[in-house]
Amino acid sequence: MYTLGIDIGSTTSKCAVLRDGAEKLAASLALGGIGTKGPAEALDGVLKDAGLALEDMAAVAATGYGRTRCEQAGMQASELTCHALGAHAAFPQVRTVVDIGGQDAKVISLVGEGRMRNFMMNDKCAAGTGRFLDVMASVLQIPLDELGSRAVRAESAAAVSSTCTVFAESEVISLLAGGVDMDALAAGICASVAGRTAALVKRLGVVPAVCMSGGVARNDGVRAALEAELGEPILVSPDAQLFGAVGAAIYAYKKAT
């Protein structure tokens, strides 16, 4: 049985096709989230890679902020439900999932069999999310991917506010004007996101093992800073950004069987 998961986020769209709710046949990621060509591109990409058609799918589930507008999906599930399923499939020992996406941050507490016990989301603010990193990379005029690598090699971190993206942007511009080293700035930016996220994790309780999902999991600087804040190693899969889509495909399989 083939099932398809579609994760339409705020900045990217992801798809995954599973066989029997476990074996990943194909996955795709396209830039552009809800309201863009991203979802269609991700869907075309995953079906092409899997060598299958939409009609071959026994069930299709959508998740992410665009889940309610996905015509191809016969069911919807919240991104927390799907990230929990995706993270558990990748790391069965995981009890805390930290998902930092383009527009929000979420912490999920799991019980043994991967069921959600509790969860928490950030307040309505871009600070502590992928959007914050996007804005800061733009201020520094470096590619987003470079933020993490610069942060890791920095000897020290500049102090950057975690309260507000707009305030932090002004701070970073002032620090740049003051000649602060670019690597230290990158480390400060990553630490800012990590600090905000760590507060959310601690409110829910840090239960090892901890893993990251979502696009920001690819940022080594944020991950290292978050590990330091939490005092726990963080598991990261190369597929962390696909956990939502994989989880949606698992969700579809569970509903179909």
Partner: protein, 373 residues
């Protein structure tokens, strides 16, 4: 009338406060606005005036920013926004209590922002339970009465307060009974429940009691709908259509509420015995379990957990009004108590300018998933 027809009547009132205001004025009655959270409506009612709740509305805030900083309770800001837009024109006065810092600021700015509607302060004591607080409350009532007489030309007579207290106690009892009965009728949607409570702010309380009594009678004869997921709601407001629609969409039913604009208003009756003004003062002294009523023991926290257990609720939905300091201070304590009781709780940030309910949708959908997994 069927239950749905009864509910439609309440919904029509809840959606049209301006029409209600016009209706009262057309009947030759004078209207006095009452701002959140607690005002002694009985005094206003006893003077032959119609108290109408002014809790703002869901809207984009523009002109109120001439008086307020951006990071201030949007309920307060929307009250001024509506006032500046002329939505309350025709009202004879507005009574604004002093129960939180934002409300104090509301009163101060109202005088300049909406000069056509006189501002009357109702200054409550923070330490309300000691005996000396009663004298303070009584002095506040005297000031209120003087200001109401000046603004409306109406005259206060203590004998008529006895009758007003009876009307309000009857209404309190009817609303408590309604909350209990609605918990057993999941077919009444969260939006409809909200409308019944909201309409109480705009109607003559005696008439609202009559409507509620008729609804209760209809509910007793009605077929109970399929079971849903019972939750307790808590917060200042729970009337945003976007929120109630999501509660309904994800199969929740409100088993009980701890909402300031809803059941918190009806928990405490005015006690019997003594002069009516003193009885009314004792009512305020007896009120409790609310973020704006000072309580070093923070009994509201346990109250919410108990409410959930007693009503059979599976979870608590906290609708946290952004920049509401009293509610935000209590939120971590409530969360901790819910965790200790094994009661799932979601905290959804709301405000009067909310247009995007994506985060609320995700939280409620996930809550449903955790409760049904």
């Amino acid at each position: 009338m069927t239950v749905q027809e009864h509910l439609s009547r309440f919904e029509a009132v809840a959606k049209d406060p301006a029409g209600q205001l016009k209706g009262h004025l057309a009947q030759g009655r004078k209207v006095v606005l009452t701002a959140p959270v607690y005002t002694p409506e009985e005094i206003i009612y006893a003077m032959g005036l119609v108290p109408m709740g002014a809790w703002g509305g869901d809207m984009e805030l523009r002109r109120s920013k001439e008086y307020f900083p951006a990071f201030l309770c949007s309920i307060v800001q929307s009250i001024v926004e509506l006032g500046m837009a002329g939505a309350y024109e025709g009202a004879s006065a507005i009574v604004i209590p002093s129960l939180c810092d934002s409300l104090k600021v509301l009163g101060q700015n109202w005088k300049y922002a909406v000069p056509s509607i006189p501002f009357i302060p109702m200054t409550w004591p923070q330490n309300r339970t000691p005996d000396y607080a009663r004298d303070f409350i009584l002095a506040g009532y005297e000031r209120l009465i003087r200001d109401l007489e000046a603004a409306t030309g109406a005259v206060f007579e203590e004998e008529r307060l006895e009758e007003a207290i009876r009307v309000y106690n009857d209404h309190d009892r009817a609303m408590r009974e309604l909350a209990k009965v609605l918990a057993a009728h999941p077919e009444v949607s969260a939006a409809q429940r909200s409308a019944v409570f909201k309409s109480a702010w705009f109607m003559d309380k005696a008439e609202h009691t009559a409507w509620v009594t008729e609804l209760l009678a209809a509910l007793r004869e009605a077929v109970v709908g399929p079971k849903k997921l019972p939750v307790v709601t808590t917060g200042v407001l729970a009337d945003a259509p976007g929120i109630t629609a999501l509660l309904d969409e994800y199969g929740f039913t409100v088993a009980a509420d701890d909402v300031a604009a809803e059941s918190r208003q009806y928990r405490t009756d005015t006690p019997e015995g003594g002069a009516p003004l003193e009885r009314l003062a004792r009512k305020f002294q007896a009120m409790d379990c609310c973020s704006v009523l000072y309580d070093p023991q923070k009994r509201q926290v346990e109250h919410i957990v108990r409410l959930a257990k007693d009503s059979g609720a599976k979870a608590v939905v906290m609708l946290l009004t952004k920049f509401c300091d009293p509610e935000e201070f209590d939120a971590p304590l409530i969360k901790k108590a819910c965790d200790a009781a094994g009661l799932p709780m979601v905290q959804i940030e709301v405000d009067r300018q909310m247009v995007n309910y994506g985060q609320a949708r995700t939280m409620l959908e996930t809550l449903r998933d955790t409760l049904t997994a």
